[in-house]
Symmetry: C2
């Protein structure tokens, strides 16, 4: 497939330079990286983020459920779905997916985040079919004008990222919470109290009755691995305001619909070029940049990679069916 | 593919037994023959009927536009779309298809026939995207309770077929108008008037001034080929009232979601078995029966063919990507 030519996959950092191997799986699977015009072998936007055992679907172009099945992922495992905006190439697979979940007998609740209006579409579709969902679908509308925490789990937060598109559109920032320090158990006496261990794990010093430090957290723990983060930004014009919000993320996905020679066209239709995506990445000092949402006018993507790497070396193509590991 | 095993394609009657080769192409391409549960390699309902240069899409399951592109058929050539009912597996590909037609710059009008409510779904989807169609979409709601002529072209009529499903649902009967007789030009004098030729072609005798037959239509024309017809019946319970409406059609497509051992289940969920489909075909004396809409519980379809042929020999499986020629 032409998408595979002359490119390299983003590296899998199975350990970081300081040797902090992170035990919690955190990865993104690219299910579709094409833009709106349908093409054989190139699918519309959908990404699957896995964190621990939770699956988060980010956008859901037509036939996303088939992409999941192809990847041997049971759609029933999904718990959270995020929709960036209401252009069809980012959500036309949602109603079919919900229908199939319903048909398969799902009863677990599902959390859906998206623009106002998405609920009306879904409600209308189910109403005219005289059907009803047999599971609870929690819908949270997203304010497109302000970054907001959409989801806060014990391990992860998801924040919206206001983008600049023709219609209300937000990206999503997945940020791991700082992992607990690792206890250096071997340095502690065997008979130490459990309460002491818990206190140290929270990073607190343990004092004796007189207020003197008995076990210092610095001595008996090692900092946990640095928290990881993934930012998804599609669709958008070049938007310098993004830089602050995605500063230092490990992986930034930023749309690159056009090459720089179509820069005016990109601005006109509220999209970005590869150079612009790379500029955001460089200014925000991100770890790696993944680009996608390529216009159907391009048959090969080498040009995107070349153009972006002139600005930001750590750029990779988002490739359908491939994972990026954080 | 298991769908291909142990079966034969429906024959291509490129001439009929009386040697009336019909010059007008009339065929059906099966784009999807699966039922609602998505499976790899089996798609949801969609059929493309070609008559002369006109393309008629019958139902439009998710990703139908990709099936068309796979078959190298430009979706822009579509002129008429018929939707049987508002279960998603029969129409979730419609909004994506319309979006793509719009994006590709279509300006020609398009004719859409379907249940009331379909217009609301489409309108809602375009409204929330802040988009508008740049071509005229004529929507004609179908009365589910009565057979009605939906379309009347110079060569063809399309009539609705009320079915018995959980929600309002109609099939479609495509009936060619009787072709004009073929003029036996060689039997006529060279200098005969054009008006005479036209009159004979209409099947009328030509009289002289005194009212005596000068050229009889019976002597100077040969009857045209018999008009052809295709009936599409999905989704429905076994419905004996169908028999009259599809009597003598050349090809009947009738859903066969289950085998006979799941007959009660079929009735319960408003579907048919292969035996029931064949019973309709036999009682209606159709030429050939095509069956499809197989439940995902079946991995192979030989059983459907065997069961149906016990009742009606001229049964064939609808196979994705295969044509039936009338």
């Amino acid at each position: 497939m032409s998408m595979m030519e002359n490119t390299e996959l983003a590296p899998n950092p199975n350990h970081d330079p300081e040797g902090h191997h992170s035990p919690i799986p955190f990865s993104i699977l690219y299910l579709g990286v094409g833009s709106a015009t349908p093409m054989l072998g190139r699918h519309q936007t959908a990404q699957l983020l896995t964190y621990q055992n939770d699956l988060f679907l980010i956008d859901c172009g037509e036939a996303t459920q088939y992409r999941l099945i192809e990847q041997r992922i049971r759609p029933g495992r999904l718990r959270y779905i995020f929709i960036s905006h209401l252009h069809g190439d980012h959500y036309f697979g949602l109603a079919p997916l919900l229908s199939s979940l319903n048909l398969s007998g799902r009863t677990e609740e599902l959390f859906l985040f998206g623009p106002r209006g998405l609920d009306e579409v879904i409600t209308t579709i189910f109403r005219v079919s005289e059907g009803r969902l047999n599971f609870t679908l929690h819908f949270q509308p997203i304010d497109p004008d302000e970054a907001q925490v959409l989801l806060d789990t014990p391990r992860l937060t998801v924040t919206s990222i206001p983008l600049d598109h023709r219609i209300p559109c937000t990206g999503f920032l997945f940020r791991e919470k700082p992992p607990q320090p690792r206890l250096l158990r071997e340095r502690l006496p065997d008979d130490v109290d459990v309460a002491v261990l818990k206190q140290l794990k929270r990073g607190e010093d343990v004092l004796d009755e007189t207020g003197v430090v008995r076990f210092s957290a610095a001595d008996y723990t090692q900092p946990g691995p640095p928290p990881r983060s993934y930012a998804y930004c599609s669709d958008t014009r070049f938007l310098p305001a993004l830089i602050e919000q995605v500063r230092n993320v490990d992986v930034l996905y930023h749309e690159a619909t056009f090459l720089d020679d179509h820069g005016e066209r990109a601005t006109e239709v509220y999209h970005s070029t590869a150079r612009e995506a790379a500029t955001i990445a460089r200014e925000a000092s991100v770890g790696r940049l993944l680009i996608g949402h390529f216009s159907s006018r391009y048959k090969q993507f080498d040009g995107f990679l070349e153009e972006a790497r002139l600005v930001f070396q750590e750029t990779y193509l988002a490739i359908e069916g491939e994972h990026v590991y954080l």
